[in-house]
């Protein structure tokens, strides 16, 4: 195949992003123009990047090139291989959807906010994301990584007038700087081992990396990437930052920005660090399970729609880590075949999660756009005024709960198969770890289903609870198109999973050195097999078609009676009370009450009821009910750490207490010490 113009389209895409950025900045005085420029150029750039990604994947062989940077020490070198192509494809798909969505969403900013600045930051964010995925040397990777964090900070704290947003933004940028600190040290270790800054040289030098070096590098990289991905002990910034960000930005954040952590892990663990020891894979798997279970448990207790979705990002990252962890374990236990299946499961779930999480956040955004509130206790009955948003949100909810025939089920099924294969193939402790992880995945899936029943039903079904959700209008057309584009992607990836899998072959060949695509697809391209000895087969296409075919007789059966006696509208059964209103409906807190009781050890729930009465306590005028669960990580881990640092620094302030004699004493003592001991060394 002649050289496809990967490099040119990629460079054109970057140029479009840069042009868009400065065009928006230039036109910040005229909001309408800025909005058109921002969305138009971003869409064009996303399309270009999408083509580049597709060409890159078709190309098969990685395309490498480098341009000299200002500082003659380092060149900016790019490598457009399968991994970069895949992640850039996800980015392009999401960027297109979010840009179309933003076209309608930003109309609301016109009077109040600076759209030019928003467009500038938005373009630079997408630009830096594209470079992060295509960077081929540590220097360029770190620059793009920090620019991404910086622009994401600018966008997260876009509504900076309320202190909650500012605090969340600062927490975000400080945590992301800590993780780039870890990455910096990790890269330095590798650069020292390989002598050069290029990723390719890391892989080669990984052989003679001493085991302690490799372990140190692994821990540093794992900490760095899991802070960015929001793995459990380091996740506290995610539920804080995503809800306060504008909805189209939190869609991008959850969809692709936390995936840079996953991309980093795939690139470094499989490419640059050589074969990692078994404990590394197990650590990843265990933290994956912890993130999945705790993520969904905390999500259940949220009644802020976007915080709920943020916690679900943590859960799905956990599922992805399960795939990655088992891939690492299989590789070191000498089962490249199983490792490839596990890696495909992880990468496919990354793609699926990116799409349905972005869809859900856009849905939540249009709900917020119409009603103005994120609190589910005030929403309800939105399915009548906003049928299209409700349908898209429903598809997203079914997909994220992993229910067939949509794409969430396919990747969770592949994860199950790799976990099952783990039981048979490995020995010792891991033999038990895999099935337990499998059952935890089942628990996560079921809890996710429960959580999204709550989210969808309380937000969209029954009667509107708060004043905000009464006279509500449907989201503008462009927002619906954005969501529609992602809904079709969900359905297509679900039903047509078997046609989509071959694109992972190039990636598994690059990272693990073998192609397993062929034995994953059997039965005339319809059935997905696990390609392992313990595996089963499933075909979402047949399930989908089966459901449709069976729908026909049942509809016939049910319509016999309905035609003759018709259907009547009647009030819901209200046990004889005078008319049922929205106060009697089940609320989000009530829905999650049984689970709060069952997992009370984890939540430590706290409840306060004050009855306000004037005559006697038995006839309360008002009852104030307040219940909250304990933010264990913030309270137990991060708050004491922060207090310790601040107390320490306040104590250290005494060094500069103002007395000149003390200052001179410091110098005197240092001089005497150095004179007596310094001279010897």
């Amino acid at each position: 195949m002649n050289a496809l113009p990967v490099r040119e389209t990629f460079a054109l895409g970057l140029g479009a992003y840069a042009l868009g950025a400065f065009a928006c900045l230039g036109s910040w005085r005229k909001p309408a123009l800025a909005r058109y420029l921002c969305c138009g150029l971003a869409l064009a750039a996303a399309a270009l990047e999408g083509c580049a990604a597709v060409l890159g994947l078709l190309q098969g062989t990685p395309v490498r090139w480098s341009i000299s940077s200002g500082v003659p020490l380092f060149a900016y070198s790019f490598a457009y291989d399968a991994l970069a192509g895949f992640f850039n494809l996800i980015l392009a798909v999401l960027a297109a959807a979010v840009t179309i969505y933003s076209f309608g969403y930003l109309k609301e900013f016109e009077g109040k906010r600076n759209i030019g600045l928003f467009g500038f930051l938005y373009h630079i964010l997408l630009l830096s994301l594209t470079i992060v995925f295509a960077a081929a040397n540590a220097f360029l990777f770190l620059i793009a990584w920090e620019v991404m964090a910086l622009t994401a900070y600018g966008l997260v704290s876009f509504y900076y007038e309320d202190p909650e947003t500012r605090r969340a933004g600062l927490l975000y940028i400080i945590m992301s700087h800590i993780d780039s600190g870890f990455l910096f040290l990790g890269f330095l270790l590798l650069i020292q081992a390989s002598g050069s800054v290029e990723f390719a040289s890391f892989g080669a030098a990984a052989k003679q990396l001493s085991s302690s070096h490799q372990a140190a590098a692994f821990v540093l990289f794992f900490l760095g990437f899991s802070i960015k991905a929001g793995v459990i002990p380091f996740h506290i910034w995610l539920p804080a930052a995503h809800p306060v960000a504008p909805s189209n930005i939190s869609a991008l954040l959850s969809g692709i920005v936390i995936k840079t952590g996953i991309y980093g892990m795939a690139r470094i663990f499989f490419d640059a660090l050589g074969v990692l020891p078994a404990w590394a894979g197990m650590l990843v798997l265990i933290l994956g399970v912890a993130s999945a279970v705790l993520g969904v448990l905390y999500a259940l207790m949220e009644h802020d729609l976007k915080r709920l979705l943020a916690y679900h990002s943590i859960e799905n990252i956990g599922i992805i880590l399960m795939g990655l962890g088992s891939a690492l374990i299989f590789r070191v236990m000498g089962h490249p075949q199983l490792a490839a299946v596990a890696l495909i499961a992880a990468m496919f779930h990354t793609l699926n999660h990116a799409i349905f999480k972005c869809l859900l956040f856009l849905g939540a955004g249009s709900v917020l756009h119409s009603t103005g509130t994120r609190n589910m206790e005030k929403l309800g009955g939105l399915i009548r005024p906003m049928p299209a948003t409700a349908f898209c949100f429903l598809i997203g909810a079914v997909a994220i709960s992993g229910l067939p025939p949509l794409n969430g089920f396919v990747s969770e099924w592949l994860t199950y198969q790799s976990l099952l294969a783990g039981f048979g193939a490995t020995g010792g402790l891991t033999r038990i770890l895999f099935p337990i992880a499998g059952s935890m995945l089942a628990l996560t899936g079921a809890l996710a289903a429960a959580c999204f029943v709550k989210a969808f039903a309380i937000t969209f079904l029954a009667l509107p609870r708060g004043a905000e959700s009464h006279h509500v209008h449907e989201a503008p057309r462009s927002m619906l198109i954005g969501m529609g584009w992602l809904t079709t992607a969900c359905v297509f990836l679900g039903l047509g999973a078997t046609w989509f899998l071959p694109i992972f072959d190039a990636m598994t060949e690059q990272l693990l050195g073998l192609r397993v695509g062929v034995n994953l697809i059997t039965g005339k391209g319809l059935v997905l097999s696990a390609g392992t000895s313990h595996g089963g087969t499933v075909s979402t296409a047949v399930i989908g078609i089966g459901l449709l075919i069976l729908m026909a007789p049942t509809a016939l059966l049910a319509s016999i009676g309905a035609r003759r006696f018709g259907r009547r509208q009647g009030p819901t059964w209200d046990c004889g009370l005078p008319g049922l209103s929205s106060e009697n409906e089940y609320t989000a807190t009530a829905f999650s009450k049984p689970l709060r009781m069952i997992f009370s050890a984890l939540y430590q729930p706290r409840r306060e009821i004050q009855a306000v009465f004037d005559v006697s306590p038995y006839y309360p005028k008002e009852i104030h009910f307040e219940s909250e669960i304990e933010p264990t990580f913030e309270k137990r881990l991060y708050a004491p750490l922060q207090d310790l640092i601040l107390r320490l620094s306040i104590k250290l302030r005494a060094v500069q207490a103002g007395s000149i004699h003390a200052y001179l004493a410091y110098i005197f003592i240092t001089l005497i010490l150095l004179l007596l001991f310094g001279v010897r060394s």
Partner: protein, 505 residues
């Protein structure tokens, strides 16, 4: 001949400004003098890059790539700050700052201005002399001169706190410089076995550097400790840093900007001169370990103070201590890469730190306070240009990648890891993360706070021009460094790593 003119012009500008009492005249003298000095410095740089070290009066004044770089940076900052000073003091006069302490109206104001406009050129003369003096004794005399001329700049406003800051400045500076003098004497003694060192040239750095291997080892070890303590005090390394926050917090902002960038470079220049001698005489690890110790101490001590700081000018002072620590660490790491990291960092830091001080100055003058909690509305609403430039500069100074300071820190850390200093590298990253958090929380809060209805400040020509120039430079050098400047930086790095290229007379 350039060297002579480089010295004469600033020296002459001082008394000339003193004679011409009226403000516009003094401003004009200052501006023209520093513009001429900048051109001369640029010419010197070009000549040194093309034809190697320049010397005058048989080696008494000697300029190689390192000194040319320091002179260029000092001259550039002096010009920028003098432009800013014009606007700054006009605003001070409008605000009646000089009348504030109720003494003699008018005359005192003029006297203060005369004091500033006459002392700054002499101060710049002293700094240029530091860079050009080949004789180590002359080097000491020049640095002592910088201290003496800058004391009255610190007491400019005449408030009680500025007096206190000045006293601490001169006392700690005096102690430091006496230690440096002692070190210089010991260096001179350690060269007593080398023939022909009785004459004046005996104390010339180029002579000593060439036959440094014959220096007396134990004496050099003691001498290096004393020099490190002495010039370290001028550079503000911990534990001798205590004068810096007071002096920078109290001095008028143009002076503080020059202190924090140009004076720091001169002190480091002196340290580097002796490091080269010690490196060739004692080997790299003895001076290296000492420098790493002081570097880590300085970075460590600045973290708590930045985390709980309440005054943004003092925050910038602690930042300078941190960056002094970074540069000394780079020197301690040594080797060609470490040296390049040092010279790169010196250049980038000079631009970024002076920009920060000038922004802080504008904010200070508008809000009449330098305490974070006293500044009501967000700076970005009241002063849009200053706010954005301040935010950009603070991001640059804490090492955010698109800007150049990240590149120099990358070089330094890579050199440190290559030399096997694992603990210092880890500490380096930890401290810079701490400082990142502290600086961003405080300055971010200052700039991005929500706006109450404060009127937008109108365009201030004199003060915004330097801001624009410096921020433009800051953005440009992040992506492209002009080749002649980069060759100068590389030449300086080669000298730091391996001593003088060719032995002057």
């Amino acid at each position: 001949m350039i060297l002579l003119w480089l010295l004469i012009v600033p020296l002459a500008a001082g008394p000339l400004a003193f004679i011409l009492r009226r403000r516009p005249a003094m401003e004009a003298v200052n501006l023209t003098a520093f513009a001429v000095v900048l051109c001369l410095a640029a010419a010197l740089g070009v000549q040194v890059v093309q034809s190697g070290p320049v010397s005058l009066w048989d080696g008494f004044f000697y300029a190689d790539a390192l000194s040319a770089l320091v002179v260029l940076l000092s001259a550039f900052i002096a010009l920028i700050c003098s432009i800013y000073a014009v606007g700054y003091f006009r605003q001070d006069e409008r605000d009646g700052v000089f009348q504030a302490d109720g003494e003699v109206i008018g005359a005192l104001g003029a006297y203060k201005l005369r004091k500033f406009y006459s002392l700054t050129p002499v101060f710049v003369f002293a700094m240029v002399l530091v860079a050009l003096a080949n004789n180590l004794g002359m080097l000491w005399v020049a640095i002592e001169a910088t201290t003496l001329t800058s004391v009255f700049l610190v007491t400019f406003y005449g408030t009680k706190t500025s007096l206190e800051a000045a006293w601490k400045y001169i006392m700690i500076g005096g102690v430091g410089l006496s230690m440096a003098l002692f070190g210089t004497f010991l260096t001179y003694y350690s060269a007593h076995r080398i023939p022909g060192t009785e004459t004046l040239a005996g104390l010339n750095w180029s002579v000593l550097a060439v036959n440094a291997t014959q220096l007396d080892k134990p004496t050099m070890r003691l001498a290096f400790i004393l020099i490190l303590m002495g010039y370290g005090t001028k550079a503000g390394l911990a534990p001798m840093h205590t004068w810096k926050p007071d002096a920078y917090g109290e001095a008028p902002v143009p002076a503080a900007a020059i202190f924090s960038s140009a004076l720091l470079n001169c002190a480091l220049y002196a340290l580097v001169r002796f490091y080269i001698l010690a490196n060739r005489c004692l080997g790299a690890d003895y001076p290296g370990h000492l420098l790493l110790l002081f570097g880590m101490l300085s970075m460590g001590i600045s973290v708590p103070f930045i985390l709980v700081q309440r005054n943004f000018r003092r925050l910038l002072a602690y930042h300078t201590i941190d960056h002094a620590g970074i540069m000394v660490t780079a020197l301690g790491v040594g080797g060609p890469l470490g040296a390049l990291g040092l010279t790169l960092h010196m250049t980038f830091h000079t631009v970024a730190k002076s920009l920060l001080f000038l922004c802080a100055g504008s904010v200070y003058q508008h809000f009449k306070t330098d305490l974070f909690h006293k500044v009501k509305g967000g700076v970005i609403h009241v002063m849009p240009l200053t706010g954005t430039v301040f935010l950009m500069a603070i991001l640059a100074i804490i090492g955010m990648p698109p800007f150049s300071l990240f590149q120099s820190e990358f070089v330094i850390l890579r050199a440190a890891m290559a030399a096997g200093h694992y603990v210092p590298s880890v500490l380096f990253v930890v401290f810079s993360t701490g400082i990142f958090a502290g600086a961003l929380v405080h300055v971010g809060g200052l700039i991005l706070a929500p706006a109450d209805a404060a009127p937008v400040v109108r365009w201030q020509p004199w003060r915004n021009l330097p801001l624009l120039i410096l921020s433009a430079i800051l953005v440009v050098i992040a992506f492209w460094i002009p080749p002649p400047l980069f060759r100068l930086i590389q030449g300086a790095a080669v000298i730091v790593a391996s001593g003088p290229v060719v032995s002057a007379r």
